[in-house]
Symmetry: C2
Subunit: 364 residues, 2 copies
C-alpha cells in the first residue's frame, strides 16, 4: 500500500510525500529559495528534426552545496529551510526550482525556426532522507515504493493536456554532471514525444505489425534462450546486458510481460522489477568496488491514452565508465554521426557482472 | 598547391604526408607499435534503428603518454619510434593503430540481431609537428592546408567501395576524452550513412523539394538578414551561433555557396572557410582565456557519387563548457530522450563571442 500526501510550497510548487504508512500530522512544505520564473522555450532544429530547450536562467542553479546546505535533506533549521520537511516520508517529489519544462511556460517570441512554449514538468524525486548512499543500496521495500512513485507520476503527469511523454531517470555521479550528492532522480514530462521515444515506438510498431509480437518481447525471449548476456531472472522481470548495448556495462531491466508504462505493472511485477533493478545496481557498484557513474532511464510508451500493445517498458542503465579509472566519453562519432563505439562487448560485460555476487541474489 | 607523399608502415598502414612545398628526399614511415588486428564489428540496435560498433581491443590504446612518448611528434630516437617521421611535412595522416573501422575487418559471427563487418577507415590527422598548441592558433596557411587535406581524404576514402560517408572531426580537451595532447583530429569513414547524416540529408532533401533551395542555404540567409547571431562574414564563408544550437556557444562555419562536400569547395572558398574557422576557434579560446573543450565535426553529404544539390557542408563546433568552470554534461534528457537542454541561448553566446576581438578579424 502506498500513501501519498500532497502539499504546496509558498511559491506554488507541488510537494508530494510518499510512504508505506499513512502520512498524518502537521507537515510543512518548505522551500530552499524562490522558484525561478519559467522562462525556458523550445526551438525546432530543422536539420536534426528535433526540439531543443533553452533555459538560460538555470545557469545559477544549485551546484554541489555543502552538507549543511543539502536542499534534499529534511528541514531542521527554520532559518535555512530545505526543499523537504521533517516527517515520516520515505520518498519525496517536488517541482524543480529551476525547471526546464513548466506548466506556466510563456509563449516565446517568433524566431527563424519554429518555437513553442516549454510546457510540461520537471520534478525532483528524493529517494531517501539520508544525504549519502545510493539507490541500489536502499532497502528493497524502498525500491518497490519508488516503482509505485514512478507509476503515480507517470499516471498523473501523463494525464495532463500539456504532457505527451513521461521520463523518470537518475543521473548518478559527478562524472554525469550531478550537482547534488543526495540520492535522487528526476522526472521530465515533455509536451511532445521525444525523438528517442518516437524512434523506439516506431520500431516496436513495425515489429508488432510484422510479427504480432513486441520487439523487446522477442528480443528478451532470444536473450533468455541464448543465456550468455542474462544477468538475473525473476518470475516476472529480467535483467540483461543487451546484445546491442551502446554503453560499456549497459543493462536493461524489463518486466517479462510486455507492459507499455510503469502504471500498467501489476503488484507482483513491480516487486520483481524492483528486486531485479536493485540486484543489477548493486552488481554495477560492486564490479570495481566503487560507485558506477550512470544514467538510468525508464523507457515507456507516450501517455497518449492508447494501449500500445507493441510497447514494452524497460529501465536502461548506461554506465559512463569503461574501466575502473577510465570514463566513456561521447565525442565525434557518437555526437556528430550517431554511431556509438563500445569498448566492452555485452558478452564480456555480462561475464564480469555475472561473476559479481550480491546478497540479494542469495536471498532470492 | 598541396603536395602529398604516400608511405607505408611496416605493418601495412598508410602514412600520408602533406605540405605546401614538395616532400622530397628519404623519409621513413615509423610505427610506435604494431597495429592491433582489426576485430571490431557492428551490431544493429533494433529499438534505436542504428548500428553500434564493438571494439573491445581498443581498451589498451595509448592513454596520455608523457611528452617523451608523444606518438604524434616526429621520430627522433630510433629506439622509440613515433607514428610520424622527421621531415618537412606540415600535416600528417595515418591509419589508427587501434581502429574501430578497417578495410580488413572480419565478418562477425551471427547474433540475435543483424551484424556486419566494421569496414571503413579510422585515420589520425596530425595538425602540426609541435606537441602542444591548438588548431585555432596554427598559422592560417596551415588551416588552409588542413581543408585541402580534409578534401583529399574525403575524395580518396569516399571513392572506396566499403565507405559511404566520411566524417572529419576533432575532439579537443581532456573534458571530451582526448588521450593525446598533441594537436590532432580524426577521420572516420563509415560503411553506411550514419544516423545523424541520414536525418540531416532527409531534412535537406524535403526542404529542397519544397522550396527549390537548400535548408542550410535558407537558414544562413535568414541568419544574415537577422544578424544577431552572426559571428563573422567573409566573402565566401560565414560563422553563426545557430538559432537552434544544441550546445552552449555552439558555432557553425559554412561556405556561403551550397557545397555538398569538402572537395567541392573552390580554392577561394577553402581560403575563406579556413579563415572563418580560425577566427571562431580563436574566439572560443579567448572567451574565458582558456582552451575551450569541444567536438568539431564536418557535416557533409554521403560519398555516394550523387551531386546532392540539397546538401550544404558545415563545420559544427560543439563546446562542452557552459561557464569557465562548469562543463555541459549530456545526461538523462539528452541521452534517454534526445532532447538537448541548453543553458546559454544562441543570442547570448553570439553577443559574448562577438565581443571577443581576435587579431585575424582586424587583419581581414
Amino acid at each position: 500500500m502506498m500513501y501519498r500526501r500532497r502539499l504546496e510550497k509558498a511559491d506554488g510548487r507541488a510537494l508530494l510525500l510518499y510512504a508505506r504508512a499513512p502520512l498524518t500530522g502537521p507537515m510543512e512544505a518548505p522551500s530552499s529559495g524562490p522558484a525561478s520564473a519559467a522562462r525556458a522555450h523550445l526551438r525546432w532544429h530543422p536539420l536534426r528534426g528535433e526540439w531543443v530547450a533553452y533555459a538560460g536562467d538555470r545557469q545559477t542553479r544549485t551546484f554541489m552545496p555543502g552538507p549543511e546546505r543539502d536542499p534534499l535533506a529534511p528541514s531542521s533549521d527554520p532559518a535555512r529551510p530545505s526543499e523537504v520537511p521533517a516527517g515520516p516520508w520515505e520518498v519525496a517529489v517536488f517541482e524543480n526550482r529551476f525547471p526546464t519544462l513548466a506548466a506556466d511556460a510563456p509563449a516565446p517570441p517568433p524566431s527563424l525556426v519554429d518555437t513553442r512554449a516549454a510546457r510540461g514538468a520537471c520534478e525532483v524525486v528524493v529517494f531517501t532522507q539520508e544525504a549519502t548512499g545510493s539507490l541500489g543500496a536502499l532497502p528493497l521495500a524502498r525500491l518497490e515504493l519508488l516503482v509505485d512513485v514512478w507509476a503515480d507520476r507517470t499516471r498523473e503527469l501523463g494525464a495532463r493536456d500539456d504532457v505527451a511523454h513521461v521520463l523518470p531517470f537518475e543521473n548518478r555521479g559527478v562524472e554525469v554532471g550531478v550537482t547534488l550528492p543526495h540520492p535522487h532522480g528526476q522526472i521530465y514530462a515533455y509536451p511532445f514525444v521525444p525523438p528517442v521515444a518516437a524512434r523506439e515506438l516506431a520500431a516496436q510498431r513495425a515489429h508488432y505489425e510484422a510479427h504480432g509480437r513486441g520487439l523487446l518481447d522477442s528480443l528478451l525471449a532470444a536473450e533468455l534462450a541464448d543465456g550468455r548476456r542474462v544477468l538475473h531472472v525473476a518470475d516476472e522481470a529480467v535483467a540483461v546486458a543487451p546484445v546491442c548495448a551502446r554503453f560499456p556495462y549497459e543493462v536493461w531491466v524489463a518486466p517479462r510481460r510486455p507492459v507499455a508504462r510503469v502504471p500498467d505493472l501489476r503488484e507482483s511485477e513491480r516487486r520483481d522489477f524492483a528486486r531485479v533493478l536493485k540486484t543489477v545496481l548493486l552488481k554495477l557498484d560492486a564490479l570495481w568496488d566503487r560507485p558506477m557513474p550512470y544514467v538510468l532511464a525508464l523507457h515507456q510508451a507516450p501517455t497518449d491514452g492508447a494501449p500500445h500493445p507493441e510497447a514494452h517498458l524497460r529501465a536502461e542503465i548506461c554506465p559512463f565508465a569503461r574501466m575502473p579509472d577510465r570514463l566513456k566519453y561521447l565525442a565525434g562519432s557518437e555526437l556528430a554521426a550517431g554511431v556509438f563505439i563500445v569498448d566492452v562487448t555485452p558478452e564480456q560485460a555480462a561475464a564480469e557482472l555475472g561473476a559479481v555476487r550480491v546478497e540479494l541474489e542469495a536471498a532470492a
